[in-house]
């Protein structure tokens, strides 16, 4: 078979709609009679609720009703994220705060009104009396066993605790040539999708059926959870994720507002909508990696890594998020810390600590932006002490091409991926040696010019053998495709995965069209709808290309078997003499041909054309198949960046950026490159700009887009990409996941490049983001070493 679509730069089918402003997001859906919710949210980070006065709000014009937790608690079961992990403590989250509040922004009262304006006017009239409780904002303090507890029913604030150990770490750290010991800090950030979280529930009383339109990445997970929590049979509930404007992990969790719109639509028998504003989105959408990492590395005189140690505290915020749990980010920091390197001796320990801040959850790259930042800094710090080029030290320690599969120190198994090839390709593409010469000249002129490398590996497209979040008891390992050809010969392919910007309507259509040998224009993709397939979890963890295309291949194979049987009868020859090309079936021996449309019409509509017993055997022209890639596969990449720090403004200007990545078979290089560009842009945000700042009282200070700084187009340099073609992975389509790699590699590469730029001042980076203010402090420290 020649590849017609797979690997081609097919223009995205969804773009004309999205780019002309004709996308249909949840807030674009307006149902006659819809009501609006505004929340009264906590302005305390930790306090007991003494009294809630909603009297004035209830009398405010346009208000339908006002709800507190005691008004709704009998209609649902509280949200509890379960885990099989030892030492895990689940939290209980109610929809509206019950008895006490645990973060600023936690919803306490819901006002339902005829318009959002009326709802907000009424919410402003609500008065809540609080009794302040101790702030629990410093995770180091909160981790102590005698610290005040955020959840009184738990033993401590430590929700998750886990260790990984391999080899003899004591021995490895016994007088090594180089011993680096450093504390790293990756400050909290958040997703900032263009579309804020928005939910609309519509209850059809006549059919006893509920539809939730949700800006979610995971309609299947939401449906399953709502069915349980609200005790609604699945056939009375449908969750649709229409066009969704970005997710980045922030839309993979179940939110209180999402449950509430469904609960209230059922209770009020009216459509109910909640669209978060930017303030709510910044302060209540699950936030990302807030990690403090004490790490040590031991290296011998040749630059070989002898051992690695880490002690990690992850500040996970107020609740263990559903369904991923508080373990998702911090545990994966130590799962992935050894990276693509051969490290025989490893000892790492992590605690996920509850604090009175917004809950954290999955964020693009999960764990690996932090682990890569730390590991890549350690390598650069060690190579500097050895006076060895950082590229050289990486080459010495990377798993070599003949050493796959390699079981990493935390137990992860890397299947063959282009670790060494990626490093070499990136350095070649950026002309590494010439760049070092350029740096030497710049330094002679007193300029702060730096080059940074980061090399990393991640697990993507994982199947049923590993949970997408450690210990989480839901199946994240399979995806289903259901492809059917109807009586008009039209092809519809239904998937459970849900696109929120990735272009799945295009890439999955490419796979279906390729394997059915039809035109891509004849394939319609349905996704983001819990009615599409019987079970799905959705799109996250770089899985949809790998799992979705695998399911599509299995379903097209099954469908092709049916089509060939029918074509052989209609074309009057053995199946082996029939082939299909561009939507036509041909008989090799005659010049007879038959279009897919004619075949479908003949099959469904011409009585007697197909023997009855064969028709019973074939059924309709559809196939539903589920794909499980079991262990998933390794994706890897190397980023190299050159940048300069302006001596006056202390701003970082990136002059060159290269990514060499191994994502296996590309379905659509345009989409792959777009994902890399977007990911790197977000990684630049994490490295230089974005930080969710809380004060010691747990107040979010960066709660607007004037204070939470996301990079704009003017801050993003040209990004060049080298695609590696090393060896196809064991996934059915040969695809490796690649949606997260940009955010994983960029912070580390930039941290290394800034450190390299500051080397003449004997300063280096241990904290991200490196804002001009933080660079200023390093430069000051260089000028006043005593202070």
């Amino acid at each position: 078979m020649t590849n017609k679509y797979i690997g081609s730069r097919v223009k995205r089918k969804e773009d004309p709609r999205l780019l002309t402003g004709n996308g249909r997001y949840v807030d674009d859906i307006k149902i006659v009679g819809q009501l609006h919710i505004a929340f009264y949210r906590s302005d305390h980070s930790h306090a007991r609720i003494c009294n809630i006065d909603t009297q004035a709000a209830k009398c405010s014009p346009g208000v339908i009703d006002v709800f507190t937790e005691k008004d709704i608690c009998e209609y649902y079961s509280p949200v509890i994220a379960q885990s099989r992990m030892k030492n895990y403590q689940a939290t209980v989250m109610s929809i509206l705060a019950k008895d006490k509040v645990r973060y600023v922004g936690e919803p306490i009262v819901a006002v339902v009104a005829e318009s959002r304006y009326a709802a907000e006017d009424a919410a402003a009239l609500i008065a809540v009396d609080y009794e302040a409780l101790p702030f629990i904002t410093d995770p180091k303090v909160a981790a102590q066993l005698n610290a005040p507890k955020l959840h009184e029913e738990l033993d401590s604030n430590i929700l998750v605790e886990r260790s990984f150990r391999r080899g003899d770490v004591e021995q490895a750290f016994w007088k090594p040539q180089v011993h680096i010991k450093e504390q790293f800090r990756f400050n909290r950030k958040t997703s900032v999708a263009m579309e804020n979280r928005t939910y609309l529930a519509n209850y059809d009383c006549t059919l006893n059926h509920l539809t939730l339109y949700s800006s979610t990445q995971v309609p299947g997970i939401i449906k399953d959870a709502l069915s349980d929590l609200l005790n609604i049979p699945g056939n009375e509930l449908r969750v649709i994720a229409p066009d969704v404007g970005g997710g980045f992990g922030g839309k993979t969790s179940l939110y209180p507002e999402e449950i509430l719109v469904v609960l209230l639509a059922r209770k009020l028998k009216k459509p109910v909508k909640w669209a978060s504003d930017r303030l709510e989105d910044l302060t209540t959408t699950s936030q990302a990696f807030d990690e403090l990492i004490d790490a040590e590395i031991a290296v011998d005189a040749d630059g070989k890594i002898l051992g690695l140690k880490a002690e990690v505290i992850g500040d996970v915020g107020a609740y263990s998020i559903y369904p991923w749990t508080a373990g998702i980010e911090p545990v994966q920091v130590i799962s992935f810390l050894p990276g693509p390197y051969k490290i025989e001796n490893y000892d790492a320990h992590v605690r996920a600590v509850a604090t009175s801040k917004s809950p954290t959850g999955p964020y693009r790259g999960v764990g690996r932006p932090c682990s890569t930042f730390v590991m890549e800094r350690l390598i650069d710090l060690a190579s500097e002490q050895l006076d060895m080029d950082p590229k050289e030290m990486r080459l010495k320690n990377l798993v070599q091409p003949d050493e796959f599969p390699y079981k990493a120190a935390s137990g992860i198994v890397w299947d063959k991926s282009g670790f060494v090839e990626g490093l070499n390709a990136a350095c070649d593409a950026i002309n590494y040696d010439e760049l070092r010469d350029q740096q030497a000249r710049a330094r002679d002129e007193g300029r702060l010019f730096g080059i940074g490398i980061s090399t990393f590996a991640e697990l993507t497209g994982i199947g049923s053998r590993i949970s997408a979040s450690p210990g989480m008891p839901i199946n994240t390992g399979t995806e289903t495709a259901s492809i059917s050809i109807d009586s008009t010969g039209s092809i519809v392919a239904r998937f459970g995965v849900a696109s929120h910007g990735q272009g799945l309507e295009t890439s999955l259509a490419q796979v279906v069209a390729e394997h059915l040998n039809v035109s891509i224009d004849s394939v319609r993709i349905i996704h983001g709808d819990s009615d599409a397939v019987a079970h799905s979890t959705g799109t996250y963890a770089s899985r949809s290309a790998a799992l979705g295309s695998g399911a599509a291949i299995l379903a097209t194979r099954a469908l092709n078997v049916k089509l060939l049987k029918i074509a052989s009868i209609l074309l009057g020859d053995e199946e082996e003499n029939i082939f299909i090309q561009d939507g036509f079936f041909f008989n090799k021996n005659t010049d007879k041909s038959l279009s897919l449309k004619a075949l479908a019409k003949a099959y469904y509509s011409q009585m007697g054309s197909i023997p009855a017993e064969l028709k019973e055997e074939i059924g309709d022209l559809s196939a539903t198949k589920t794909y499980d890639p079991l262990w998933g596969t390794t994706s890897s990449a190397t980023h190299v960046v050159a940048l300069e720090i302006d001596r006056i403004s202390l701003k970082v200007k990136i002059s060159k950026y290269i990514v060499a990545e191994d994502c296996g078979q590309m379905i659509n290089p345009l989409i792959v490159e777009g994902q890399v560009h977007g990911g790197v842009a977000q990684g630049i945000g994490a490295a230089l700009f974005e930080e969710m700042v809380y004060d010691e009282q747990g107040q979010a200070l960066s709660a607007s887009l004037a204070d939470y700084i996301v990079p704009a187009a003017t801050e993003i340099p040209r990004i060049d990409i080298e695609h590696l073609d090393v060896e196809l992975p064991p996934t059915l389509s040969g695809v490796r996941g690649m949606g997260e790699s940009g955010t994983i590699g960029a912070p580390a590469a930039i941290a290394n490049a800034i450190s390299d730029a500051l080397a003449p001042l004997d300063q280096y980076v241990t904290e991200l983001p490196m804002t001009p203010e933080r660079i200023f402090r390093l430069v000051q420290a260089a000028q006043n070493p005593s202070s």
């Binding site: 959002r116 304006y117 907000e120 006017d121 402003a124 504003d277 930017r278 303030l279 709510e280 001596r647 006056i648 403004s649 202390l650 701003k651 700009f689 700042v693 200070l701 960066s702 004037a706 204070d707 700084i709 990079p711 704009a712 003017t714 801050e715 804002t771 001009p772 203010e773 200023f776 000051q780």
Partner: protein
Amino acid sequence: MKPAIFDYEVATSIEHAVRLLSSSDNSKIIAGGQSLMPIINFRLLEPSLLVDITRLPDLQGIKSTLGGGISIGASTKHHELETSLLIKERFPLISDAMKHVAHLAIRNKGTIGGSLSHADPAAELPLLMLLLDAVLHITGPTGLRKISVKEFLVGALTTILEDNEILTRIDIPSLPKRTNFAFNELSQRAGDLALCAVGVTISMSSGMLGRTKKIKDARIGLMGVNDTAIRISEAENLLIGRSSLDSSIIDQVAQICTSTISPNTDLHASADFRRHLALQMTKKTLTEAWEKAQASKTSENQNKENQSEENL
């Protein structure tokens, strides 16, 4: 994030606008709405009446005034200032600095009077008008008064405007002949509020009949580093009368500026970092302005040549 209920009236004349403003004890003017709308959406302000002054022809446009100055109606949009040929010819400093005012979409809506009346310490318009010795026309119930920008700016987000007064017009007198300038701004992202900006103008004497050219007029202004935009007269005076500037004078001027300002610490920059920026950016900006002044020819047609030569 929706505003509380308010009334909205469109003024048909300046006097009508003043009457409307006086009719309520909680009224606000709305023009471009680029600062006001976020504030009322956050419910930081809950005005009961908004008076729309965007349809008053008297408040529109840029006019030439006698002696080479200009007069700008307060409802003139930033983008008009940015692209006006008259301004480019007479006050290239404004044309140059306007690109730092937020983003194009905001410059298309926001007005010069709105920016001045909002008085954000990190906004460009107050600094530019301070540098150019602009005179502000303020109309209230008792008629028109004219005051300097320095008097107008009281503190961060605070001016001398009474609740029922309107900033209607800004007059900018001509600059001395043989004026060169430099303007530098630093913000985290393009279009953000400035962490620090410095503007410098240097006007030289004619140098006719073989006399040495000297600095006749010098202006140094900073913003983002003080509770209002600020001119540093002590530093300006140090420059006047000099025929050359060496690095020790430039350092001294920058030191004076840095010790005169009183910057805040906020999320984006500490007071120390802002002092660093003020010091370094003053040196840089003064040096650039001086270099331009040096590069300019000594003919009587000085001004015109400056413009073509430096593409201001």
